[in-house]
Symmetry: D2
Subunit: 116 residues, 4 copies
Amino acid sequence: MSILKDSALRQSVLDFRSARDWEQFHTLRTLSTALAVEAAELAEITQWTPDADLAKRSVEARGKIEEEVADLCILLTYLVHDLAINVDDVVRRKLEANGAKYPVDRFKGSFRKYNE
Amino acid sequence: MSILKDSALRQSVLDFRSARDWEQFHTLRTLSTALAVEAAELAEITQWTPDADLAKRSVEARGKIEEEVADLCILLTYLVHDLAINVDDVVRRKLEANGAKYPVDRFKGSFRKYNE
Amino acid sequence: MSILKDSALRQSVLDFRSARDWEQFHTLRTLSTALAVEAAELAEITQWTPDADLAKRSVEARGKIEEEVADLCILLTYLVHDLAINVDDVVRRKLEANGAKYPVDRFKGSFRKYNE
Amino acid sequence: MSILKDSALRQSVLDFRSARDWEQFHTLRTLSTALAVEAAELAEITQWTPDADLAKRSVEARGKIEEEVADLCILLTYLVHDLAINVDDVVRRKLEANGAKYPVDRFKGSFRKYNE
């Protein structure tokens, strides 16, 4: 039911916020916008990188990538906590829906899905 | 080390992709861009909602919110798998860094952080 | 046919790029991603701002807002130039389509459009 | 001082909004978020496209690209109107700042800028 496997760590993330009384600033809107901002910062890392240099870029920007991933996970932890979303449940449902939408026999190795 | 608590579910997410030979389409760039697109779709849900209507909006758009959260978690699962990022580790480090940056005594209930 | 009214200025924007041989880095993908990154930076300005403080925020962040708007206009200038898009034409068509979709008598002052 | 060259068209964009009494829904926050959402939709068009297929993709997705560009220009028209931003002025200033930051002799053909 959580983004973070270690439930003690998950609690630390929630405690960080409550120690600062910051729940008052967190709503579906502010958390969603913050997620969009952090995801854009992650996309910024490769925005000018040609395909051929992506592997090298992943290595040299490792620290920055890890920070953005951490920010996304922290924000998601707050969002699913506040809305009482069971992450495993919603992922399970989405995976089933995607399985029906993209059957293996028609979409194996196919780029079509992506470009329609 | 994972976004999803249930390691069998995490494996299902990875199996979904390998059954379709879709690893070839996943790079730091495509996954980052996809995360930015999904996060923007989440932000879209409240883009015209005034503060006073956010609680109501969370309820009426529940299904859509859950789908976007699922998409974000699935994409993050691929990203941290492919880059061998230990989510718990990077979150722990980020939390420590944030703790130093925003000490409780100076930032308790304070909006300043957010607006400078 | 342009984002910028002053055609000499529009030419300066294009000259800035060609003087540095940067056309080679500009594709539909890199320019689109850059637009998404800059727009997210604009959204970041108000991400934690409650509705009641938006007017004040517009004033105190004026310089930052102007920079982001400039970045968006510069990127759009490159994009429409490279794809030979006639901005006035596409806006005219979109306005007509929106007029049909949101007739005045049904959507006057209505928030419905935004929340369905 | 405008995104759109044709001042009659610019007026039509503003009239579209006032005919529907929609100014009340437009703030720095809602317009910024809408810009981020539309820019993400533009980025979505090439999110799975390899570099080698970008030219083909530009052609086949022409209609969609034009719609997103139109949406961005319409939103920018509202934003610069509401904040009384002189687009040509802010672009001119930004271009000067960028010129100082990226002198031609050091950045000609250089990818460095993009990856530091």
